[in-house]
Symmetry: D2
């Protein structure tokens, strides 16, 4: 049993992590910390965990956390980077679900996150936790930068095309749509039911923090000259991301279906649908599956990849557990085999 | 491993049953039948089961079904009653998720369901599958009438009060609200997104088929003179039932909290919340939990019980599996321990 | 043209009032005040009013407001009671959409609203603005206490029964369901999309502020011994209230349909549906209509009245304008004839 | 008063047309026909029109319709083309909200709509009813092909760029998202609440009927070589379309804000937002406004235009009335000045 602590589990990513960890056969959940909820029962805040998680939130105490073999950070950006070094030195492994270790360049990080990076030295050490890209490195990592929700979907959709250099690298467009849980569990006017239900809009069209994370990865696998236009949208879903990806094919004779099928044949959590299919976010609700299909409208030179995931699972907590399984030598799918909830 | 067949699994109850059965460690799913989908992959119709259920729908064939130890009927009303006798004679056990065997009185059944009952002799033999009421009979039953969704919530809320004869038996009111999945997966104008989203209404206020089912059970545990007003409503949820129950207390000095806690202390799937609590359907989404809380507004003589369940789980497929576990001597919670999906 | 000011129009009631006032042919909107938004364009905060309302929010200034003939307060509770006297003395008329003047008893008001009442002397003078109950008094009033959303629906449903003394006065139950806009436009965890979408729950079952308001009115029209159990619920609607009302009939021979038809025949905004009907909130979205239908399930002695309204229109801003029309001698329906938006 | 008939008003476009026509000061609604609902009250089918529309559906009778000065067809595709000639010959004007007259090329029409065109001769005569493109021709037209919902939003977003030849004509991408009302009011599994709520997907990525309509118009205003990738999506909205448009700028020094402001300065129903803005569909719910904003992410050479409209108003019924106003010499905004319903 892996002794696990969770720091800052009062958000949607955190509660989803607790739900999945509580069903994981190799995990012993030792500590769940929250400054604001210290002393309160976890299941009091999250009634879905009544009878499932018996712990009480404790105040964050790094010495207590050192007793864990693995610490998840489900904190806002800017927290994990202050505590990681001490925990790593104490022999803990870390999976950070925030953005603190996702970018390799501290200056770039500061530009997008608006603060100095507290542990730039760890940026190099941190392993980007996208198993489909980085599995071997993850297995031996001590510090995992768990990918963002948009980047997971967008990378999984573009990777096969870029790895094989089949598209013009400057032609990438990612039109992505997210459910409201992506905005987190915090009191904010923009996330009210009355603001988001029965309405649809883009946001951050001029630049979203996930852009540099996506570009960093895609640049590493593809050729020179990568450029990406990324427009996120808010859609009235609780959970779910749908990325619609566009790129210009260099050669329209490529067999896209074969390409994607081959690339993801052995991946337990990437499901390539048949030609002509349209994945829907409802089919991955609550599961760790990333489901995709590719199209070439009017047999033209634009490839369209449709990608769905549950932003809280494959886009956050589920992927974190997938990383944990890899780091601790467990079967990669352990604790993650639950089917999506439909309808 | 229990060899299991599912008849008619193209509805929401059916797909939920398949989801839960596919995660059950003691079940071998042998056959899934559908007249309309015969020959098609189950996972083609229900993409959430891709990679989880590999079966193809087969045409209903009672001789094939006889190879199963247990057959679930997830069919429309009026199907199971035609096939039950032959299957029972062949030694199969049956759990019927439709209404065919829920009423003991064939005349009453005909009145509400608009057709002659094909197997009135089985009505007596059938065991009403509400474990919290009928556990011992279920263990030895061959034919289970799995309760309706409304009846499950309403009975669990009223039972403690009636068993102890604490309320006036003619004073019961059940104001119940259901998500749209209760209307089933069939093309119907009234269930369209544009008709049900952002709208709320009562329906069948003059009489709903679940009324006689509820009264039949409550009459058996309580005193003479039971009467119930039952008004169902449609609310823009996918899943979930909320029953708000009202009754007039004979004596306001009763400790309601103690009553409910005692009654359900050993029940794995009934969760009594603390005084003053308000259960929400979101906290049971996808789980087999029935969660309730009781109130006595303004310290008056009206008791109010708030009850929530997922209509497709505790109100249908989950309860069916709970019954299966009891019938086959398994631990009652096997395959049903997944937490609710929140948010 | 009536010179109108609106104080505190940054909430959902406020923006709905502006929408309706901007389409009213006899209104000149002079001032819209907000402490937090002073200096900002109204249409910047509320893009639906772009091209419709050209005003800028101004800081509240009672001397400026005195130039208006009519001032609406769309403020939180506890604001209007501090400014009403000075405005009335200056000759302004006031319609208060908050709760400040709804109760006649200052002690009771303090009990439910948690603060001393600043102008208890005005409580007697204030006219309760439910036109169907109080039309003649409204016509000559200077200070209108605009009813709450729940009280409007519940009173309109119970009034005919109580006026004619047809039900046991101690038997009233109001099971009411509200859309999320009823919670207002303020950053609050409980009103987030992810907390309220796809979930349903009761709240304040032990006592809601609208209870004394409802009882105060119903007591005035009925006989001794009135008692009411009122359980509000939150349902995933943007707008809409559905009240399901229960009462015990003294005599089941009464013609309920006739009763309601007669009572509301001349009311422009109360629509009595045919027997057996089930009004839905979608049919009143955006309109000032209160639509209702009555039932007597199983021909028993419980009458069930189903009532729907748009909580922001007939339950707030529309009713306020209806009151304005009465106070200024206009046709009661002026500016309120827009049909509901369906779907 | 214009004598108006509506053919086939049992869908969402039809009921919206009735709502708007009933509030139009210059319209006398003479006839509403429906084969399936003949003899039933319009307000019985559509309770939002109770007290607003007193007509009964009549069986379609072309001789009766000839008494109208203007006939709207809100029928499925393939109906209007059979009746138009006779009505035109009788002196009626026609606005067809279906697709029958939108394409100039009968062969192309047949390819996308799967039937022979019954009146190919009228295709040339029909005027495409997008006032912002075609105002002068509309004024004198007898037969209007009212544009589709997607085409309206997409054309209004691309027109300024193409007219000025600022973008590469082969680089156009339209990633469009529609509410479920776009699928019409017909019993279909895919439009059920449980299939569409809390889920998001693309559809018809390989080719949607609105594609040739869009291309036909854009080709006429732009230069050679126009090509468009159009991917529609279904999003859990009742009403609303959001089009996210991408094109490659020839020259990044162009002032996009100025371009759009100038193009639409005098348009009553196109609202160009300030730089950096993100229009949301909620801000146009129920109104005839098309609201847009343009972006140039990372100051690159891709222009992104965000466009929203209510698919049933500016995308259908509202635009039809705008066309009617032009055809009959009324002020273009008559009957269309109602503000959007927010929240």
């Amino acid at each position: 049993m892996i002794k696990v602590g969770v720091v800052g589990a009062t958000g949607y990513t955190g509660v989803e992590l607790l739900r999945l960890l509580s069903g994981h056969p190799q995990v012993e959940l030792k500590q769940v910390t929250s400054r604001s909820e210290a002393g309160n029962a976890v299941a009091g805040l999250f009634p879905n965990l009544r009878g499932v998680v018996d712990l009480t939130f404790s105040a964050p105490d790094i010495n207590q956390l050192k007793n864990c073999e693995l610490v998840f950070f489900a904190t806002p950006n800017g927290v994990a980077m202050h505590q990681a070094t001490e925990l790593l030195d104490a022999g803990c492994k870390i999976i950070d679900l925030s953005a603190d270790f996702r970018l390799k360049d501290a200056t770039e990080w500061t530009k997008w996150y608006g603060q100095e990076h507290a542990s730039p030295a760890l940026l190099e050490q941190a392993v980007y936790g996208l198993p489909e890209l980085n599995r071997e490195h993850i297995k031996t990592a001590s510090l995992i930068a768990n990918p963002g929700c948009y980047p997971t979907a967008i990378q999984l959709g573009f990777l096969p095309l870029l790895e094989q250099r089949l598209v013009l690298p400057g032609s990438l467009i990612a039109d992505a749509k997210s459910g409201v849980s992506g905005a987190g569990r915090k009191a904010a006017l923009d996330s009210l039911f009355c603001e988001t239900a029965d309405s649809f809009s883009a946001y951050a069209a001029s630049g979203h923090r996930h852009l540099p994370e996506i570009k960093q990865s895609l640049q590493m696998v593809g050729e020179e000259g990568l450029d990406l236009v990324f427009v996120p949208h808010l859609t009235p879903l609780i959970r779910g991301i749908h990325a619609t990806l566009y790129a210009t094919l260099k050669d329209t004779s490529v067999d896209l279906q074969q390409l994607f099928s081959d690339r993801y044949r052995d991946e337990p959590f990437v499901d390539v649908m048949e030609p002509g299919a349209h994945p829907n976010t409802g089919s991955v609700r609550g599961s760790n599956i990333c489901r995709l299909a590719c199209h070439r409208p009017q047999d033209g030179n634009t490839v369209v990849v449709l990608v769905v995931e549950d932003n809280l699972v494959k886009g956050a907590a589920g992927q974190a557990i997938q990383n944990m399984n890899l780091m601790f030598g467990l079967q990669e799918t352990t604790g993650l085999s639950v089917s999506a909830l439909y309808p």
